[in-house]
Assembly symmetry: C2
Homo-oligomer: 679 residues x 2
Amino acid sequence: MVTPLFISMLFPVLALGVAAWFVYWIMTRDQGTSEMKKVAGAIREGAAAFMNRQYKTIGLISVVVALGLWAAYYFTDKPAMGWQTALAFMLGSASSAVSGIIGMSIAVRSNGRSAAAAKKSFNEALTVAFRGGAVSGLTIISLSLIGIAGLFGIYRYFGYEAVMIPSLIVGYGFGASLVALFAQLGGGIYTKAADVGADLVGKIEAGIPEDDPRNPAVVADLVGDNVGDCAGRGADLFESTAAENIGAMILGVALYPYFGISGVLFPLVLRAFGLLASIVGVLFVRARENDDPMSALNRGYFITSGLAAVAFYFVTQKMLGNMWFFWAGMIGIATSIVFVYITQYYTESKFRPVKEIAEASKTGHATNIITGYAVGLESTGLTVVTISAALLSSYWIGSHSGVPGGGLYGTAVATMGMLASAAYILAMDTFGPIVDNGAGIAEMSGESGHMRDVMDKLDSAGNTTKALTKGYAIGSAALAAFLLFSAYLEEVHIQVVNLFNIKVFVAALIGAMLVFLFSSLAIRAVGKAAYSIINEVRRQFKEHPGIMRGEEKPDYSKAVDITTRGALRQMVLPGVLAVAVPVIVGLTLGAEAEAGLIMVGTITGILMATLMNNAGGAWDNAKKWIEEGNLGGKNSPAHQAAVTGDTVGDPFKDTAGPSLHVLIKLLATLTLALAALFV
Amino acid sequence: MVTPLFISMLFPVLALGVAAWFVYWIMTRDQGTSEMKKVAGAIREGAAAFMNRQYKTIGLISVVVALGLWAAYYFTDKPAMGWQTALAFMLGSASSAVSGIIGMSIAVRSNGRSAAAAKKSFNEALTVAFRGGAVSGLTIISLSLIGIAGLFGIYRYFGYEAVMIPSLIVGYGFGASLVALFAQLGGGIYTKAADVGADLVGKIEAGIPEDDPRNPAVVADLVGDNVGDCAGRGADLFESTAAENIGAMILGVALYPYFGISGVLFPLVLRAFGLLASIVGVLFVRARENDDPMSALNRGYFITSGLAAVAFYFVTQKMLGNMWFFWAGMIGIATSIVFVYITQYYTESKFRPVKEIAEASKTGHATNIITGYAVGLESTGLTVVTISAALLSSYWIGSHSGVPGGGLYGTAVATMGMLASAAYILAMDTFGPIVDNGAGIAEMSGESGHMRDVMDKLDSAGNTTKALTKGYAIGSAALAAFLLFSAYLEEVHIQVVNLFNIKVFVAALIGAMLVFLFSSLAIRAVGKAAYSIINEVRRQFKEHPGIMRGEEKPDYSKAVDITTRGALRQMVLPGVLAVAVPVIVGLTLGAEAEAGLIMVGTITGILMATLMNNAGGAWDNAKKWIEEGNLGGKNSPAHQAAVTGDTVGDPFKDTAGPSLHVLIKLLATLTLALAALFV
């Protein structure tokens, strides 16, 4: 038993060492011209200011929730679980916050260095940016593992029964989810409010190009890419792995008579090996001068997946001794690859959907919107078929494994397969904002020539990787969902969720409605937060006419600060809704109804997130395709219509969609942590 | 036993008599100038041509499905039920078609007469139009009742056990649903394709006003209002009452030990009295010269509801002898009133949501779309709270009635309460296209002065009633849904739908996805069908330049014909999807999974339809509010953005939204009719 736990601690520590080495390597790179340093510095300061304020708010909320948890357990038959759950909750929140902060700090230090490296060599620019992303990926997954394995070890040390422990650490997942919700909401609102604000006043009112240094909102916009994609998605996947680990361990407890403690620790060990595979994958990312950056990134991804598959084989053999589950894991790995292709099909301009949207732009704004929305709706089809196939087949494999109740464990192992490459995927994701920022820094500091081409190429690859990660995140959330339900039902001792029970049905209806209402609030928050920055930019232009003439520097940090405050204010209402509704329903309609709420809320959330992510991505790329000179090119009527679609898609794909991923998992971990209250 | 059945046949026959008298009364009204007669004649011909072609297509599909039903039952353990189900199916299809045809035929004869009457008196214009709508309302509800009561009587005559019969006539509801699906889809696609086509080429390319007689698509546009709102919604509510009657009867069978045959026939008798109440309500609709037409219509509605409540009281006392169910019925009546207010709040310009959309139009197309979409999402909140309250409270009442298993019957009676005023609501609905057409005829035949004002006032009221009916239709569908599930579960002898069974969960996921995919196809169909009419209008303008100079008459009927063919072609794919997916899932994953599919499909469908209807209505009225001179008025930038929103909203609210109401009920009746195949 010590060995698996040891591995689950050792490999993450190793991975942290590699991450530290990447940090060292990045920090010793050249930072470019003094102009570039200045811009990068402004972004760094803005990001730090945002993180500072955001985590203060989140910290406050977390403390309140932790106290609430402690108090709430007082009214159950397990009052002692109160402090345990509250403690695990605080630890989960803190680890999520720490990994977010580390990842972001490195990202905002890699962006300028990647741009500076682009002057020397394409490969170095790519490597700096990707390793900057890998710091996030490795840190997040490592901390998630260390936290859970550590808690497990500590409880063991204090003499708790191994099979009792997973229930005691469910608070960890809830803490991670809550921080993720606010991180993704706050970051998502911030990034789009800054983007919309910068565009509306800068591009449209003042008529200056994107990333123009005269625009007071331009730094806020660059900061936004970091806080949304990097910190937000990082927290999202931190909680995915945490929640899924805990869920799988609880399931392992149910199979204790069959597998013993191995079944409980199996998920941790697999994740540890996945981390190793990701490190190797990251190290393999390099490219020659004229390579497509995507092929370098894809190579690393396939190496990671391949190594993870090999590790799966041996770990399964050693720990479970039942090779059926190896195949379940393979289904997970295959599913993650299929999701990559579905996302590409619906959001890349070389395929039918994006072309269709671009064509529809010729007849105006309305037809662009209608077609894009129809494409988003359509994209749920293949997504659901894939999820259904993965769930049914992994369940079938598990049922045929000869293990009683092995079906569910089959789906759990498939989820582990899907998440095996999480660290690598996260590296790809954070790579996005780093190169996006790098390109922005190059533009703002007046660079030109070959280096700009390199950064534009990387930026375009970054857009693709950001889209892929969203597909991956929603796929893994869907697959993990069923596992988390079963963990919850295990906790509340329910075997059946009868949708024909009127309370369950009504709760299910409310769960689906929660997704719609939450999306409404998230979308609207962007508009409200954008107002504040728009007014600020207008004020600066008016009071300091020198800015537009290029004689005076705009006050970037003021714009950053105002956007920060606007975004944080707007994240509260949807966040509270997401927590309050399931708690109220659980308390009034009971544990079975609560299960109905989370299950149907999850189903609706998966579909809505898919719709929003893919419609948003497709609109974005339809615009880019027209800008490449098709259908009349820039400033043609078709382009104007496409810009409308892109603007509509922004809060869809960068605020509401990603926040829904987190909402889905929050529903599961929240009910898991509060299970004792609902019975 | 004879008395209740007798009443269920007698009252509808009486109602048909009243409808016939209305027809006579309308036909003896003045038709106006020869110019008006000509325009009205063109609309009549166009509508007849559409109906002709549409019902041929639907007839063909129905025969194929009927044969399929017959054959499918051959493989079950109840082969004899094959011809019974197929027969009931054909009867349901035929009745639905007949009531659609009668309603439409009168609607297209009332429009011109209402306009002609407007020259004399406001009250007569209102009365002609409303009675024209009432013909639809009374015919549809009467035929639905006569069909079911008649089938019941016939089976009794041939010696079948009373409690056996409801299961034998489930095919009737399926037939009605299938016709409704295609009628609503075909009509919804037609009306919006014609609308978009007429606007795009007429208003935008040629620069001529709406309803200008030089536009070859203008008659197609006026025909569209009839085939979408009148025939489509008529078929929708025909099936609502049919399906709900059958569902409630099956539930009555389950309570047979307690209520005897009274419980089975109770729904039919209630519906019969609701029909009487509606007749009285219709007769009370009159207005003085300067009245608001809505207050006259609302008065009739409240009289109908009041009388229905009184009838409920006595029928419940006489037939059930348990007054708890009276209160359940009152909940239904109250729910229908609440739905009217929710719809008004979200779609009328005097309230916050529409104003918000109008405000957002000032910052452009994209913000208009984002805000409208957020409003639509938000509107699901109150809707779901109302449905949840109605379901839980009526169930609670039923459970406390002292009748074993009475909870479900409580929700059934609440649904009956909601549908008691169905005939009146349908009259209000059909009133919409009649006055819309009336106003169009006045415009096209060059009328002016006071009469135009009268028709514009009526037209505006018609827009409100159309929106209200959609809210009512979705509310009643939601309430009836739970009842229909229980009827299905009764048929397949299942008490529990365990969402935690992986097959059920996957089927539920597929059910939700079906709603998204169906919406995608329905929305897209409008664009595709619009292409054909756009090309035809362009062709006519090009080949006959005299048209634009007003020297040559455009070929209206050609445009009608092309739109008809386009719309009918496009309705096939979503229609087939709606039938094929549940059949495949039922056959492969079984009866319990099928229940998961229809229940979660229904939940998602309710939310999606609410979103689409309300967003569409709100966009529409935001545009109208700006056109009234607010925020810059017509042709201001805000107005252009609002037009984009309105155009996006058109397929939402007139094609996809209403088709989803039908889809929800089709899922239930289809599974009910095919239940024997899934066990």
